[in-house]
């Protein structure tokens, strides 16, 4: 398809980002602006929001209406869940996990952040860094979002002054020294008027940095994945019931991390059997190298007993295999966490059960203070807990590997996902 690559379509990368801000900081307006200025708004969508803007008696088309979701929320005038939006430029396709800034919705931001390459955090230039800013930045660092973009919004309301911008930057830098953030950028913008969103502002000649769109298009994301530690959780075993493939055994899955090649000496967990990768394939095509996040099928040079939930790794680089470990957990349910409680967990493609041994401390997400006394972990709380699992879990710390370092906790009675865990 050479004609398509000429257009650059096939060289586009995918960037997932999440947005956070306090209510009224301008998050919806900013997303609306990104969609609008990148020409992703269709006439029928625009008509719908024009109609609603005028019904509500607004002078201008309210771009924030573009990101409104379901009926109930429209009636209440708030967004209450994670909604996904899409836009593309010739360089990248973007997936926005749009999460509300409402106080009780930590769980939504955690959900949106779990797959994000970048987080956009809005700060009102007039108000500076608030408790919510701390909370959002903490979640971004806890979830190990590789890139943080602090959008200092409503610059038009502070006369586009550099001092106002610098003040917020200083406040943020003080706070972020306590956090584990790899890459942070600061942008002075006006979401309402469009300054430095897609087009460079004519009102802030003192600012020489990129616009938000330029930054989103150029963030260096290719090193966000772990390409060192080879981990391949087996998802499905392919055994064709066709005579021509009688002896075929393919181990299907998605590479969590590392680079797999034919000829690699591998080890299968938990059996500890070793083998050599014969082929890596997809739909009959042989693949020379497989890396995260590719979905492939691996065949081996010998018969090994492998089933779903097993993990293929390199012989000389294995993950931890333990039954007792600590996780940072974000609680997602109104039923509180119970010490001594038994839950189902899912880790990569493996199911297990666990018992909660201890709550080490709860984090006050507004002050980042650790509270060792408060053992009451309810909806939206974040805590460090110790768990014991029924079978060994093959994990890396979440800091090293987002895929093999994460678990979800499931209520065995209701089957709901009630906790998100990051292995310490």
């Amino acid at each position: 398809m050479s004609d398509f690559s000429k257009d650059g379509y096939l060289n586009m990368e995918l960037l997932r980002f999440t947005t956070a801000g306090s209510v009224d900081d301008g998050k919806s307006t900013l997303i609306g602006r990104l969609l609008y200025d990148s020409k992703q708004i269709f006439e029928d969508q625009l008509e719908a929001i024009e109609q609603r803007s005028s019904q509500r008696g607004f002078e201008h088309v309210d771009l924030s209406l573009l990101t409104d979701g379901l009926k109930a929320e429209r009636e209440q005038g708030i967004t209450i869940d994670v909604a996904y939006r899409y836009f593309a430029t010739p360089k990248r396709k973007f997936i926005i996990a749009d999460t509300p800034g409402h106080i009780q919705y930590t769980r939504n931001m955690v959900t949106g952040a779990s797959t994000a390459n970048a987080a956009l955090i809005l700060v009102d230039a007039r108000k500076g860094v608030l408790e919510q800013t701390i909370r959002h930045s903490f979640i971004a660092s806890l979830l190990q979002i590789p890139h943080l973009i602090i959008c200092i919004n409503k610059m038009d309301l502070v006369n586009y002054e550099e001092a106002a911008f610098e003040k917020v930057v200083d406040e943020f830098k003080q706070l972020s020294s306590k956090l584990d953030i790899k890459d942070v950028s600061f942008l002075p913008i006006s979401a309402l008027l469009g300054d430095n969103v897609v087009d460079k502002s004519k009102n802030m000649s003192w600012y020489n940095g990129p616009t938000l769109m330029y930054l989103l298009e150029h963030l260096h994301i290719s090193s966000d994945e772990n390409h060192i530690d080879c981990r391949f959780p087996v998802q499905y075993v392919i055994r064709p019931q066709q005579t021509e493939y009688h002896d075929y055994r393919g181990y299907a899955g998605r590479v969590s991390s590392g680079i797999f090649k034919p000829g690699d000496k591998i080890k299968v967990l938990p059996s500890d059997e070793v083998a050599i990768v014969k082929t890596i394939e997809l739909f009959g095509d042989e693949i020379p190298e497989a890396y995260s996040p590719m979905s492939v099928t691996i065949t081996l040079d010998r018969d090994v007993d492998i089933s779903r939930g097993d993990m293929i790794v390199r012989e000389n680089n294995v993950p931890n295999a333990m039954q007792e470990f600590d996780v940072m957990v974000c609680w997602l349910n109104t039923t509180p966490l119970q010490v001594g409680g038994k839950y189902a967990i899912r880790h990569t493609t493996k199911d297990a059960r666990c018992i909660i041994k201890d709550i080490r401390y709860k984090v006050d997400i507004n002050t980042l203070h650790r509270n060792e006394e408060d053992k009451n972990i309810g909806m939206n709380d974040i805590a460090r807990i110790s768990i014991k699992t029924t079978v060994p879990i093959f994990f890396d710390s979440y800091r090293k590997n987002r895929h093999t370092g994460s678990i979800i906790i499931i209520d065995e009675a209701t089957n709901e996902t009630i906790g998100a865990g990051m292995i310490v």
Binding site: M1, F4, Y9, L10, N11, M12, E13, L14, F42, D44, Q45, G69, L70, K71, D81, V82, A83, Y84, Y86, A88, K93, I95, R107, N108, V110, T111, S114, S222, S223, H227, Q235, Y236, I238, P240, Q241, Q242, Y245, Y248, A252, G253, R254, L282, F283, G284, M294, S295, T297, L332, A344, T348, T349, H403, S406, I407, I408, I410, N415, E416, T417, A420
Partner: protein, 301 residues
């Protein structure tokens, strides 16, 4: 390091294959809904990739409104034959005949709503616990919050307030007896991604996606194909036009667009320049601003 990065279509492909494999693993009796439209064709292609060289390990289920473009059925049967898939068809007509569903009246009558009844009956009859659909989050705003694994209660209903959070790619398909899931492997794809992927993978699609001459009736700003399934009002006239379809559904509510595009490259250029959403060509969504959301709650795809 740039070498170790997938382009966006390959990343979406990897994600969809992961979801399809997860569905095959976590559920006892999954099925893939097949409408004959491009999204379900792409999804079927991804299912083949996911399990190759084995055949697709679950049936394709077509809920047939009986108001099909003949080209769709021809395409469906040829494809099923080629890939050796197991196709199950359930007919809205049977639901009507048995009194389970009631045909709408009037010139705008459509069987689109009735599909839900036939679908839910089929899921129950066949004991399907996960139905994969080709719906995408970019199609309509009620879909923007849809999960990959969308939980439905015993009545097939979708409760937007009671959906499980989805973190990382850890999908939770646990359920009680009688409940089931809808699964959407193409959630993160846009119309453009689907077309680009079809071009990249050279996937066959029904020829009515490309330009052709057809008898058209203009109704409520839509270009409807003339067929035995719609009644022409006296004020309306049937005209020959050069059109193609952006989506393919029930003939009575799928609008055509004027278009000379006869190659994928031209379609992609057209989509890039297009000023209306794809669902803007569907009269079923024009009924009210929350039409889709209401249908989803009732158990629609």
């Amino acid at each position: 390091m740039i070498l170790y990065h997938l382009n966006h279509l390959r990343e979406l492909e990897a994600e969809a294959i992961y979801i399809i494999r997860e569905t095959a693993s976590q559920f006892e009796r999954p099925a893939m809904l097949f409408s004959g439209g491009k999204d379900s064709i792409v999804m079927t292609h991804l299912a083949r990739k996911a399990f190759y060289p084995a055949r697709i390990p679950f049936p394709l289920l077509h809920i047939d409104t009986g108001h099909n473009f003949p080209e769709t059925i021809e395409f469906r049967d040829k494809m099923v034959e080629e890939i050796g898939a197991n196709l199950i068809v359930r007919h809205v007509q049977d639901s009507i005949d048995s009194g389970r569903a009631k045909e709408e009246k009037g010139p705008n009558a459509s069987r689109n709503m009735l599909q839900t009844i036939t679908l839910l009956d089929a899921l129950e009859e066949l004991k399907i616990d996960a139905a994969m659909g080709g719906a995408r989050r970019d199609e309509e705003k009620a879909r923007a919050k849809e999960r990959f694994f969308s939980h439905r209660d015993e009545f097939g209903q979708w409760d937007p307030k009671n959906q499980r959070p989805e973190l990382w790619m850890l999908l939770n398909g646990r359920k009680h007896q009688g409940e089931h899931f809808r699964v959407f492997p193409l959630s993160n794809w846009t119309e453009m991604d689907v077309w680009m992927y079809i071009a990249m993978e050279k996937i066959d699609i029904p020829n009515i996606y490309f330009t052709h001459q057809r008898e058209i009736v203009k109704r409520d700003g839509m270009l409807l194909a003339n067929s035995e399934y719609i009644s022409i009002r006296t004020t309306e006239k049937v005209e020959m036009m050069t059109v193609r379809f952006r989506t393919i559904g029930d003939m009575t509510c799928t609008g055509a667009v004027l278009s000379p595009a006869n190659s994928l490259q031209q379609i992609i250029e057209e989509v890039a320049a297009s000023k209306t959403t794809e669902r803007g060509t569907r009269s079923d969504d024009k009924r009210s601003e929350t039409a889709m959301e209401d249908r989803k709650k009732a158990g629609y795809f």
